[in-house]
Subunit: 613 residues, 2 copies
């Protein structure tokens, strides 16, 4: 067998013992040929790994490329630098805008990193009665996606009530409730389809924050056996005992949760994931940041590596990777220490894709130039194929997706009955940390039938349906956003990505909203009658097709401009964008109006009209 | 959801923590609905599990049903009693006799236990040039089997040289050797087929005793990443570090090997398996015996349970079983203690299939009578279907498979050149333990051209090709078999299952051989001119289609009769039958003559003809 190069004297990660041993690693084509304490025979392409740690490429099995507002090829370039060599992407943002065509536009892109896909299970996030997305993913699309070898799971099943019927008496149901269980909900149909089409091959991934006890049992019984939402020590134990696989993202990596994982040795049942990585964060790191967070929260470094390499591969039945061994893909990192997880070199499928430390000798060049395509490619069945001339990254019409009229100042006037002097309004209150909101009631003066929300220190949020479907416009009041006059507008508003404008200055709101339409997608802040900052998201209104470095810089300015207007949150952009996300607690706004997330019932903006103040 | 019954107050095995907790388990149809410390709500079908241990059904992922000389339905009946609820069977014995038709005759049988299948990779064990089986399994058969959802792996790849080219300089090869690697060997083609047809879904199981270092790396690189042969502490560590999954059978479960597994915590990478269970052993136990052996060799009981339930399920991508949790198949055992692993009750797919302790109350009856077919059956694609009227268990011609002539006394006369007075013969020496033989040379007197092997204290083994293909007859001399006059004959002679007769009395050899033909398959011992004991194996010459209890009794008599004739081995039947197995060390006999197993070269019976003694 042909050996392309050998890495000598590195500390090589031993997956099944979770420790390091000094080993030599021989690479042949895109795979590892052999691992040995010492090879006999000669090889003139030797790379000296002395003092380095060699670990498998990081594998992120729950993430959304669109959270970085970029496209697969650019994501691959950046994430590879941080050592992530495989991801399982749930492209549910682009699916909300363009449906199957959006998913295929991702899958069609060749990337150096391996990108596998989840079938978005919840597009739209709620239903056509509650919000208007650009497209939906239903049974027919799911059937098509199941034919693609790169599809590994049904992604993020979150619609709890679609799976678990309400049964008032706890465990035991009446015969009619038993019938209800067999009800033909969309999600149950999708799960059945995944099970019958590919048998044991397809994983069903879930999203079940705070669900416990009998509800949790039923959710798992319905087929969903992974969860990536925020965990507590108690939820880790309960879910793990019930056979649910835990995907820990940063917010779950508290010392208490990590202590629960470590003290019960639950490593087999845990993987580290990113979920969402903002563009500026992606410049700093990807799954390696989460690895670091796990170690900082108290997880032994050898266990954290295990949970970022082997367990995620196994969860997704990716038996060809996740460890350093013969026959596995030659996906690995070289680290100078185990403190920062900033790789000195990253090798994907045998090829050096990042890092220059071994470039001095000819051996480095060999690795850099190795042709990973040497082996016969295995046949991959795919449902997608490029259907446009490739002079742009996406199909031309992806660049023209904002179909709504420009706002005018009168769009931001709320009215009440002529006679009343004030209203009691249902208001979205945002917090300074995270994306959860709460419903609060505020009394607002009314003059000549006009609700004077600015006088109550509130902002107005207005959503313009922008997929050209129904022209819906809906408004809600927000407390805790801008404190100074100004506005922001964006098409990056989860999950339907309609055009959201938020502000307390109608003039600036018009400017921001109009500018987003002119850009055909983006994030714009306006203040004092002019655009203060903007970032271009010209693909479907959610993705920038240029270099991420520039986008991150622009978004940094957007963030700065929002903060300058007094928006106080650990992530201003996410906080504003998720005002439109009707599956995240507690009161949100869609193009149909205010929505109580828990009950999925509409909420009137005006709770009460008052004749006397 | 409908609850059929609840088991209360049992100590329930917690898979991911490998411990027991007091839990209640609710069963609905064929699956577990929920597990909880305490259910709310009422259920009138309660089973009191106080003081009992509830563990998942045992899963045996490497075994051969034919080793028990029985058929799937009967195997299922017995193994279920011992708590084995799922097996992955490699039906390579019946495949050696009837090919695909043999495999389908197994797969067509409905069983209460779940039987999945391995594709036999080595039928015939060697090649048509070295032995004559009844049929072969090649690429076309493999292609067909891959379409069946019950096929989980390519079984027991053992032909090392078919995968790994000889490369004299160790690691680095010349370009021409690199070409050799791409050689189109049958086994490489089968592995490629398994990988391209079902992607990551199919496991490649191996057989690689004593292979180490670069050879082991290359074997794994070729795609084989499990081994079930005898291990040592060193092999456990080396194979595990290289990513090979270890399937430990009884002979591997020494205190030293178990200590290696435990001290390095390799449980994730280890499963317990049976490989071969003789009929009389099957009456006593199945995988539960191996579980006990692991514990007796020092493995903590909670870890041994893990390696007999969860890790084997995961290895085979059987995500629907292997633990007690919602949505999993309701396959479990109740044990009165953790000492013997003799289940007090066995539940398969929600139904009580063995054990009567809970039968007193109506709850027990409910479980006993529960209809596991209540849920919609999932579509299973299968390549097999019954093609005969079902008044016999197997197709009629399976009962007429011994196609060779009856022996006559002259078949057992060996001749040499007229002039010589003795020969130096290559002789198979059998041992008193295990199935390995060695080549020894013995001087044997010759009178009038007749080799007087009886005078040298030897036995004669003769193989009659019996599949009706070429009528081959071949002879070899054996040392260490019968010490008193007598003979045995059988069609159960691995792997080609030709008719093997072994003895030192030509008269008894004729009687035994003729009787096996009359029975159309069996194990017969003859002594003093009459049949001394016999067991009927009338299906393909290797399987008895009646109750196993009777067969075991008959085989006990066969064993006793062999021992009475002075055959000294821990397993007389296996020792004799594997005289014909050309992949087990060291000198064996096929219908083409003596074979050196290591070199796969034929060996002459007469090494040297001597003119003077």
């Amino acid at each position: 067998m042909k050996v392309d190069y050998i890495i000598k004297d590195a500390w090589v990660y031993q997956t099944f013992r979770q420790c390091f041993e000094k080993r030599e690693v021989a690479v042949s084509g895109e795979r590892i040929l052999a691992v040995s304490p010492k090879f006999a025979g000669a090889c003139d392409r030797i790379i000296d790994g002395s003092g380095m740690y060699l670990i498998p490429g990081l594998i992120d099995i729950h993430m959304h490329i669109e959270s970085s507002m970029t496209y697969p090829k650019e994501f691959s370039r950046l994430a590879l630098q941080h050592g992530t060599t495989t991801v399982v992407a749930d492209a549910h943002e682009i699916a909300n805008v363009f449906g199957m065509e959006g998913i295929c536009s991702f899958m069609d892109q060749e990337t150096e990193m391996d990108i596998f896909y989840a079938i978005p299970s919840s597009v739209p996030a709620t239903s056509w009665e509650l919000e208007t997305p650009g497209a939906a993913i239903g049974e027919e699309e799911t059937r098509q996606l199941l034919e693609d070898d790169r599809v590994l799971c049904l992604g993020e099943v979150m619609n709890f009530r679609d799976l678990v019927p309400e049964e008032p008496d706890g465990l035991i149901s009446k015969p009619d409730a038993a019938l209800a269980h067999k009800a033909d909900t969309k999600t149950l149909r999708l799960i059945r389809m995944c099970r019958s089409r590919r048998g044991r091959d397809i994983r069903i991934e879930g999203h079940c924050p705070k669900i416990t006890g009998m509800d949790l049992n039923r959710f798992i019984f319905a087929g969903v056996d992974a969860d990536h939402t925020q965990q507590t020590p108690e939820s880790v134990l309960e879910k793990s005992d019930l056979g649910m696989f835990l995907e820990l993202q940063r917010k779950s990596l508290t010392p208490e949760v990590v202590e629960a994982v470590c003290s019960h040795r639950l490593y087999e049942n845990v993987a580290l994931i990113t979920d969402d990585t903002m563009p500026d964060q992606l410049l700093e790191g990807q799954l390696n940041r989460i690895l670091l967070a796990a170690v900082q929260a108290g997880m032994p470094v050898e266990k954290a590596i295990y949970c970022a390499t082997y367990t995620p591969a196994r969860r997704m039945h990716l038996d060809d990777r996740g460890m350093i061994g013969p026959g596995k893909l030659a996906d690995f990192l070289l680290l100078q220490d185990l403190d920062t997880f900033r790789p000195a070199a990253v090798v994907k499928s045998g090829r050096l894709v990042s890092g220059s430390w071994w470039m001095a000798g000819s051996a480095g060049k060999a690795a850099e130039q190795a042709d990973p395509k040497e082996e016969e490619p295995s046949a991959v069945s795919t449902v997608c194929s490029s259907r446009f001339a490739a002079d742009t990254i996406f199909p031309p019409h992806f660049y023209h997706s904002v179909h709504c009229r420009g706002a005018v100042a009168s769009d931001f006037i709320l009215t009440a009955g002529k006679a009343c002097t004030s209203v009691l309004a249902n208001v979205i209150r945002i917090g300074t940390f995270g994306t959860a909101t709460e419903l609060v009631r505020r009394r607002i003066p009314v003059r000549n039938g006009v609700i004077c929300w600015q006088e109550a220190g509130l902002c107005l949020a207005v959503i313009f349906e922008r997929h050209g479907r129904n022209g819906n416009i809906a408004a809600g009041l927000v407390e805790g956003a801008f404190q100074k006059p100004g506005a922001a507008a964006t098409t990056w508003s989860h999950d339907s990505h309609n055009l959201l404008v938020l502000g307390n200055s109608p003039e600036d709101m018009v400017i921001a909203q109009n500018r987003v339409i002119a850009l055909q997608g983006g994030y714009v802040v306006a203040a004092e009658g002019a655009v203060a900052a903007e970032a271009l998201l010209q693909v479907g209104g959610i993705i920038n097709d240029g270099p991420l470095e520039k986008l991150a810089k622009d978004l940094g300015r957007v963030r700065g401009a929002m903060a300058a207007l007094g928006y106080e949150n650990n992530n201003e952009i996410m906080s504003m964008s998720t005002l439109a996300l009707p599956v995240s607690p507690a009161l949100k706004l869609t193009d149909y109006g205010l929505l109580d997330v828990k009950t999925q019932k509409k909420v009137a903006l005006i709770a009460e009209e008052c004749l006397d103040v």
